[in-house]
Symmetry: C2
Subunit: 363 residues, 2 copies
């Protein structure tokens, strides 16, 4: 293990963390050296299931023990959202760099505490919104935005829906899901997508759509649509939709003054090794309106290498930043905390709009 | 010309009507026998441009003359929307069957007058919403709805946007566009698509989204989004969006309890001779969330025959109904007037919501 290798510990051994372990294992400059879970049994089972050898990976029955391990450079947090802020702050105070599953907290006040702790302790914060790091996401920005093929954004539509069986819906409590329910858990994606498309310009108003809000009997939000208005001229608007009541859909459509682009798998691409998006630019109906003057163009990116998946590109970016700080070459990059914070501010605004009867929330 | 041939006259010689002439020319049981326009020059130019021979096609300099031609069975109306209702009623009183370009009128009260005139005079009414007749539209209904692959509709998104150059936007007056502006001209499509997906169940509430409404200096609505709520359990919602400020987009996405389907060319397919839609049913993220458990399925319909385009299938349906009435075998089919009326009622509700400050309109 070279000096430059980033040594990572896991806070939380949920099954989903296996994906992260797989990515780190495939990486050349990061390594898992410790895992932890409040249940040592869960941690041991996770270690065995993921071929983490006790000779190289320490297994702890508490987060505290892992955070006290001085060899750990950075931690990956996957515990329930209601506990993330507390442990993220503690980890930062222990000088650990932070990669926190999304949503990283329950509201912007919690994120502010995390970011303050990171700043005070000189560590990097990044949330685990993986699609932002996908090669396709980078390619869309170049192809549609930087080149001018899209023109000015006028309208966006973005969803994240995933069906939860009826008998499980009632178990989605605020303790399990955080205060914002589906808006935090799922809405994080479409809200983040709208902000990404607007280059993180913040909306001037946010409104949950009254017809769209569904809750379970304990008041957890299960489904919600919202409109965001951006202060562009003419106005750019986004419709975001999240729901536990629809089968999986992850659509992103962006319509601009010159072109439009669509994809239906922006959160997690259909396949790990390849991804595409489609666009038209300068589209019109053909003469006599018997077709279009063009077919949609499909841009495909190849992600077939071990270090080309969206998890790998996210890890690479995180490791790059941590290495820079470790070497003393650079300070923590404020861009990623800022993206988390802005996304959470809009999640909070949608939640607030729901709370006040779907009235407009002016930011 | 057999007795069974439907003899059609045109009321209005706009360039777009050439498409209809082409379709009739390719049809085996309909024929254009007369055209008319308030400007005889326009009518003569149209006849020449469309190879309509003066030996077989009468050219009239007024709608009245054409409507007084007893040989004409049916008329196709393309004059400005503000005049359609008046001429549709007059044509029905002259016992002509009616195919009226969309939107057929400026509001539901006007449509009611047309439909009453048609009923009193025993003639068929149909509006020119071509995509409803496309083989693909029929195929989606079978594949997604009838088979149960979609499950219950939970959320829909539908757009019709087309860019109008800035210097032309100011010329979009209410006299030219009708009172509902873009909502009537463009919104007709996404509103109709949502109703189609709900099998013409009407929404229980309609609301224009405040952030979405743009007008020009004379108050014509140029851009608008709206949410429709249907009285299903759980609620089904639709977001419809229309705009003259975005480049061409005609997206339709329907998300259900079991599956979802998408297409980006529902109004006019990219190509006349083929069209497709994509769907997933039972989609989930694959193990470890490194992809989906399935790729979207693409269903393609072949429309390469002369009588297979959406215009041809619409004409065939219209001719079939007219032939039945001519033979005395059947009465006018109330289904098509009802679809027009319901679509217009929702257009009117969105317009009303805009007028009252984007408050909810309960139907």
């Amino acid at each position: 293990m070279g000096d430059n290798t980033v040594r990572i510990g896991l806070l939380g051994c949920i099954r989903f963390a296996s994906k992260f372990v797989r990515t780190v294992t495939q990486s050349s400059n990061a390594v898992i050296i410790a895992i932890s879970d409040p249940s040592i049994e869960t941690a041991n089972t996770f270690a065995a299931a993921n071929n983490l050898s006790p000779e190289t990976v320490a297994v702890y029955g508490s987060y505290e023990e892992l955070l006290d391990d001085p060899r750990v450079d950075a931690v990956y947090l996957t515990m329930p959202v209601t506990q993330r802020a507390k442990w993220a702050v503690t980890a930062a105070e222990k000088k650990k760099h932070l990669l926190v599953e999304k949503p990283p907290a329950q509201n912007a006040a919690e994120i502010d505490k995390i970011v303050e702790a990171c700043e005070s302790n000189g560590v990097q914060f990044m949330d685990g919104t993986i699609w932002l790091h996908h090669k396709r996401t980078v390619k869309i920005r170049e192809t549609m935005f930087d080149s001018g093929l899209l023109g000015d954004v006028r309208h966006m539509y973005s969803t994240m829906t995933t069906l939860v069986p009826e008998q499980v819906l009632e178990r989605l409590t605020k303790e399990a899901m955080g205060l914002a329910g589906a808006i935090g858990e799922l809405g994080w994606y479409p809200i983040g997508a709208a902000l990404w498309a607007m280059s993180y310009q913040m909306p001037v108003s946010v409104r949950a759509l009254p017809s769209s809000v569904a809750t379970n009997s304990v008041g957890t939000i299960l489904s919600c649509s919202a409109s965001l208005q951006f202060g562009s001229t003419p106005t750019a608007t986004a419709i975001v939709h999240c729901s536990f009541l629809s089968q999986l859909s992850t659509d992103l459509a962006i319509s601009g003054s010159k072109g439009s682009t669509q994809m239906n798998d922006y959160v997690i691409p259909y396949k790990e090794d390849t991804a595409w998006f489609e666009y038209t630019s300068g589209a019109k109906f053909a003469d006599l309106h018997i077709g279009w003057n063009m077919m949609p163009e499909r841009v495909t990116v190849d992600c077939s290498g071990n270090e080309e998946s969206q998890e790998a590109t996210m890890l690479r970016e995180f490791v790059r930043l941590v290495q820079g700080i470790k070497r003393g070459d650079s300070e923590a990059d404020p861009r990623w905390p800022e993206i988390s914070r802005k996304t959470q501010l809009v999640v909070d605004a949608v939640k607030k709009s729901v709370d006040i009867g779907c009235e407009v929330v002016y930011r």
